[in-house]
């Protein structure tokens, strides 16, 4: 009789352990896919804009505060190194906040009459993250610059 009860207890414990293991696994998988989504998010948005082009590092610079106290308005300046002539100029610049729910922040379209491929604006940042700027040149070359910003209070609503 005593033996039987013990077996029962063991079984139940096994069952509980097994169930929690399954639950933990389920959480892990959902977490994993969520993270993958957030990661591929901005890469997909970038692909939609520049196609399969592989951006080279350099030529693009970003000016951003190292620590943004208020994520609602983070001033930023993006610029690309270019002579801005009719033959050789920056056509487009796309700015992404890689950790925002919608990563694509702004697209800037320059012409040789812009004189300089520089623009300043203010963006919202939800959390500490990398800000990426991608420049598309008139000859089709693509360059990329990156900068990390630490955000104290996020600014994406919620």
């Amino acid at each position: 009789m005593a033996e039987k009860i013990q077996i029962e207890i063991v079984n139940r414990r096994d069952f509980v352990l097994g169930a929690s293991a399954v639950a933990a696994l389920a959480t892990l998988t959902t977490l994993g896919s969520g993270e993958a989504l957030a990661k591929s998010n901005w890469a997909d948005e970038m692909k939609a804009l520049i196609g399969d082009a592989k951006p080279a590092t350099g030529k693009v610079s970003l000016e951003l505060p190292e620590i943004a106290e208020n994520g609602n308005t983070v001033p930023f300046t993006v610029s690309a190194d270019s002579p801005m002539t009719a033959a050789d100029h920056v056509k487009e610049m796309h700015v992404f906040a890689t950790g925002n729910p919608v990563a694509h922040v702004v697209s800037l379209f320059f012409t040789p009459e812009s004189g300089k491929a520089t623009a300043t604006s203010r963006m919202r940042l939800g959390k500490t993250q990398d800000v990426v700027a991608v420049a598309v040149m008139s000859n089709g070359k693509v360059y990329m610059g990156k900068r990390q910003v630490k955000v104290t209070i996020g600014g994406c609503g919620g």
Binding site: N100, V102, P112, E113, T120, R124
Partner: protein, 107 residues
């Protein structure tokens, strides 16, 4: 609601690259915020397009998204070969537009 403000230098030398600063008051509701009372999401309503023309020719254009802060500020450059007029247009995603004009004398 929205009122555009633009700063363009009054004079410049031919071929100069000038700095133009623009600002428009707009909430830039990104569609992610929720109404605190009802819990329902507030629909997206942003300025989605901006363009700057000099004597009728486009010099700079921008497509804005929800990641741009309220009261969108944009500063950019333009090369001025001759005197003329800048025309700036802001377009909301509802189709509503605002515009401003500024002239510059080039010597």
């Amino acid at each position: 609601m929205a009122k555009p403000r633009v700063k363009v230098p009054k004079t410049a030398k031919a071929g100069d690259i000038i700095l133009i600063k623009t600002l428009i008051s707009h909430k830039m509701e990104n569609g992610l915020r929720k109404d605190k009372k009802t819990g329902k999401p507030i629909p997206r309503k942003i300025i989605s397009d901006f363009s700057a023309k000099f004597n009728g020719k486009e010099v700079f254009k921008a497509k804005l998204h929800g990641g741009i802060s309220a009261n969108p500020y944009l500063a950019f450059n333009a090369k001025v070969p001759a005197s003329g007029e800048f025309e700036f247009t802001w377009t909301e995603d509802t189709g509503k537009t605002w515009s401003a004009k500024k002239s510059i004398t080039v010597s």
